[in-house]
């Protein structure tokens, strides 16, 4: 009897967890439409606390697993565009070789040990896990960034990407990665240069408040985008100021003087 009740309780909690992601989605939508400055804390988050963070991380990892045909990605992919190819998951011991242990030979043929990349037509398959990842942990910056990237760049759904990234900014006001992704979508996809400049400037402000040192290439990526947005929005003098600021961080970069010269020419 006790076992039966335990099972019913476990299954009920599981069902509530599943429904919670849907309720949270509606609440976030309501807040974004009616109270843009407000924030919402999920009921489930309050109930199971930090365990949700682990579930969110697991969902995020699952997105990576889906990208690699159901197995963990072995390493960074050298050629991201090489879709559909199959790579051996074990570096040292090929699963097709005989190992001397009959059961291991069977396992290597029964269990998937290779990885393959999603074909572009299968790109939507990742979205549920990125969605669950942000719903389970609204503080998961990387999940918001990846969700925005995947929606805008891979599925051509820029408006949905903008909505989810705006939600991410509301939940992570100190993040620079989320507004950078938002700015990139405005700049490259929507061609709304003023909105792009606004989002990227927010990213720069947040980056300047970072306590940990920011990798110089990350800074360069953001500043170049911001300068570009300013220039396209009709403010080349601001673009020049950004490039000059970046030269302070990268004095030996051969690309920056050229870029500064270009913006000077635009000002004239």
């Amino acid at each position: 009897m006790k076992l039966k009740y335990s099972l019913i309780i476990i299954l009920s909690v599981f069902s509530i967890a599943m429904l919670s992601s849907r309720i949270d989605g509606y609440m976030e939508k309501y807040i974004s439409q009616n109270n843009p400055g407000g924030s919402y804390e999920s009921g489930l988050y309050r109930m199971i606390g930090e365990f949700r963070d682990y579930l969110s991380y697991a969902a995020f990892l699952n997105a990576d697993i889906y990208y690699h045909g159901g197995v963990h990605g072995m390493k960074d992919d050298p050629d991201d565009e090489d879709f559909g190819h199959i790579e051996n998951h074990f570096e040292q011991d090929s699963p097709v070789k005989k190992t001397g242990n009959f059961l291991i030979d069977i396992a290597d043929r029964a269990v998937i040990t290779d990885h393959k990349h999603l074909n572009p037509a299968e790109d939507p398959e990742l979205i549920p896990w990125l969605y669950y990842s942000v719903r389970l942990d609204p503080k998961n910056e990387l999940a918001y960034v990846m969700c925005g990237y995947w929606l805008a760049d891979r599925l051509n759904k820029s408006d949905d990407a903008i909505n989810i990234l705006r939600e991410g900014i509301r939940n992570n006001p100190d993040s620079w990665k989320i507004p950078q992704q938002l700015g990139e979508i405005y700049l490259l996809k929507k061609k709304d240069y003023a909105a792009a400049a606004e989002a990227l400037a927010m990213a720069r402000d947040n980056m300047s408040r970072e306590k940990e040192p920011v990798p110089v290439l990350d800074r360069k990526g953001l500043y170049i985008l911001l300068a570009d947005a300013y220039a396209k929005a009709g403010s080349p003098e601001k673009a020049l100021a950004i490039v000059e600021e970046l030269r302070g961080y990268l004095p030996d970069d051969p690309y920056l003087p050229e870029k500064a010269e270009y913006y000077r020419a635009l000002i004239k």
């Binding site: 039966k4 599943m18 889906y66 291991i104 069977i106 939507p124 398959e125």
Partner: protein
């Protein structure tokens, strides 16, 4: 044989009489329906998450039913003392253990078949279809796994209390399913006496990972080669037979 059929059919009726199976069925239906109607940013052609979560739920619910029902069979007979009139009839102890196993396996197979059929229908409605070859392979392999789990639960029920038995079999199932790769690496990397010990452990421990075809079904991998499938089926038959032989030997020595 007649004794086995009678014992198994009594157990099967118990499944239909108790509510556990129906609770799982309703939950599965509810959860599958929930995932069926989920929409993510109005993106179309999204179905793998449902195949994945659905099959995980089917597997988990069937594993729970298999372990719990199998573990309860012999202790329940001992506790209610119904075993004494049963063994007084022309039913040998071996028949009794085999009958209990047959009944438990029948329960597992029936539950899994119903859950799996529901899963296939819901996934077909959402995603179009499931590869017939892969679907059949998965069905056969999962049944083989439930036979081993059932035999383990029957064997351990002769030595352990009900809760200890259920916990131990669950632990064995999850640990081996999750961490079999570590033992594989140890077998391949070790040398000398260590290699012998690790390889012996690899042969002795059950390999539930053989039966888990979820990645193949969800991510569209090709079916397992026929000779590998046959080897796994033979492996599961041998493993189950050894466990049942151990259970019968122990039960024969047990004073009631």
């Amino acid at each position: 044989m007649r004794n086995l059929i009678i014992l198994a059919s009594i157990q099967f009726k118990e499944l239909l009489r108790k509510k556990d199976f129906y609770v799982f069925l309703v939950f599965l239906l509810g959860l599958l329906f929930f995932f069926y109607q989920e929409s993510f940013f109005n993106v179309t052609n999204v179905s793998r998450y449902m195949k994945d979560i659905g099959l995980s739920l089917v597997t988990l619910f069937s594993v729970i039913i298999t372990i719990v029902f199998s573990a309860k069979q012999i202790p329940a007979e001992l506790e209610s003392r119904t075993i004494y009139p049963l063994l007084a009839k022309p039913v040998s102890r071996a028949d009794f253990v085999l009958g209990k196993f047959a009944g438990s396996f029948l329960i597992s197979a029936f539950s899994f078949t119903v859950f799996y059929a529901l899963y296939v229908v819901m996934v077909t409605l959402k995603a179009g279809s499931i590869s017939l070859a892969m679907g059949l392979q998965a069905y056969i392999l999962f049944l083989c796994m439930y036979a081993i789990l059932s035999a383990f639960s029957i064997l351990f029920s002769l030595f352990l209390t009900l809760s200890a038995n259920i916990s131990l079999v669950f632990l064995l199932y999850f640990l081996i399913s999750w961490y079999n790769g570590i033992l594989r690496s140890l077998c391949l990397k070790a040398s000398g006496a260590k290699a012998f010990i690790f390889n012996a452990a690899y042969y002795i421990l059950p390999h539930f990972e053989f039966f888990d075809t979820r990645i193949r079904i969800v991510h569209g991998w090709p079916p397992i080669p026929l000779w590998v499938l046959s080897s796994i089926v033979v492996y599961s038959l041998i493993y189950t037979a050894v466990l049942l032989w151990a259970a019968i030997s122990s039960f024969n020595k047990k004073s009631l």
